[in-house]
Symmetry: D2
Subunit: 122 residues, 4 copies
């Protein structure tokens, strides 16, 4: 199974935008999502822990992410989760990535002026 | 369990915006989501069936949905699914609703100019 | 987009099991899922509303659902949501279905003795 | 937002079961989930990459996981995703955990004999 995931959170870095030699557009950024939990002791909702993700977008979506988003924006991202292990010499690491299928600025935190753009062939 | 659901699709009606006597803002619209499926016969991806939802937003999110969205826009919505049965005399019906927690114009289909708005107490 | 959904709830009807003329096995049942919500007035978690679904399984999964599950069991179901409108003469209706990809008895409510079965070609 | 996630995959380690000094039961195991993707070149569905998770269950669910599951079983898990960073001297790492809310042996891969167990107060 491919793990579908939806994350709402804060764009925590500038958008990194690249175009490969083959002309493939890629945008990526770090996203911080802080859950809210009910605290039985204080009988109030409080900030819980924060999950960090690398969000990656390709092609048409990458171009529009680059043109529309910035550090500090609130977004909602729907995509597929990828957990990747890597080795760099002695160093072992693990990346947690969301490959975005749909992505937009979150209207729970702001307003947006939206313009449809022509879609090239996917 | 509360059923969390994420839908990406087309805003198919104008935004209906109301304020209750108690001052609660509510925005709602109909959302059409058409899946894509791989057709073995034609060996191509084709349009599948369409799911229809009523999307409902409250408070701050309702105000920003009203100010930002319109019929024909593409959006991504994360929320909780509600399946409700109703009776109207002889008539029985069933409504399928998504109560939105996060919602934005989908950058897979367009660009957005986003402005953070001050949040009143939730 | 195809709406992925996960539901944990109660099997509310006997399992209906059929085999089509082409030899396709199908199992289906009604599933009731009751959410829990925090009630600010009583400062306690209480039962919320109930969502009803028709769960449908095909092929190998259908055979094992038929052999393993019964009314009154608690299950967890992961699949794709289908909202279908139908007309029967004057009557219009709407069905809310989950086409199951993965499905099992919920260990949050009981124990299970599990045996892997050989898989025919999907 | 808390990231809800559903994973179907293979139990890749024996179940680790502990009881804290306070009497809290905890069960955990490693879960491997391999996605399937359509390969345009060979025009066939092929194995994609594998996501690895640590699945953790508490209390009643932990007891039933311990009594019911084993390495090699196929399961479906619904829960909340936690991405945690840790430091051990020079070493930095990242854990990807699913805290299970509902969890069962997957009937897509086998049969189960299920017995409801009395629930202690959650």
């Amino acid at each position: 199974m491919s793990e579908n995931i939806t994350v709402a959170g804060l764009v925590a870095t500038p958008i990194k935008h690249t175009v490969t030699a083959e002309g493939l557009e890629i945008s990526s950024f770090r996203l911080a999502s802080t859950s809210r939990r009910y605290d039985a002791a204080s009988k109030a909702w409080v900030d819980g822990e924060t999950n960090w993700f690398t969000v990656t977008a390709f092609r048409h979506l990458a171009a529009n992410v680059h043109a529309s988003l910035d550090k500090g924006h609130r977004v909602v991202v729907a995509g597929r989760l990828r957990v990747r292990e890597w080795r760099n010499g002695e160093q072992l690491g693990r990346d947690v990535e969301v490959v975005a299928d749909a992505l937009g600025p979150d209207l729970a935190w702001g307003r947006a002026q939206y313009t449809r753009t022509p879609r090239r062939i996917a």
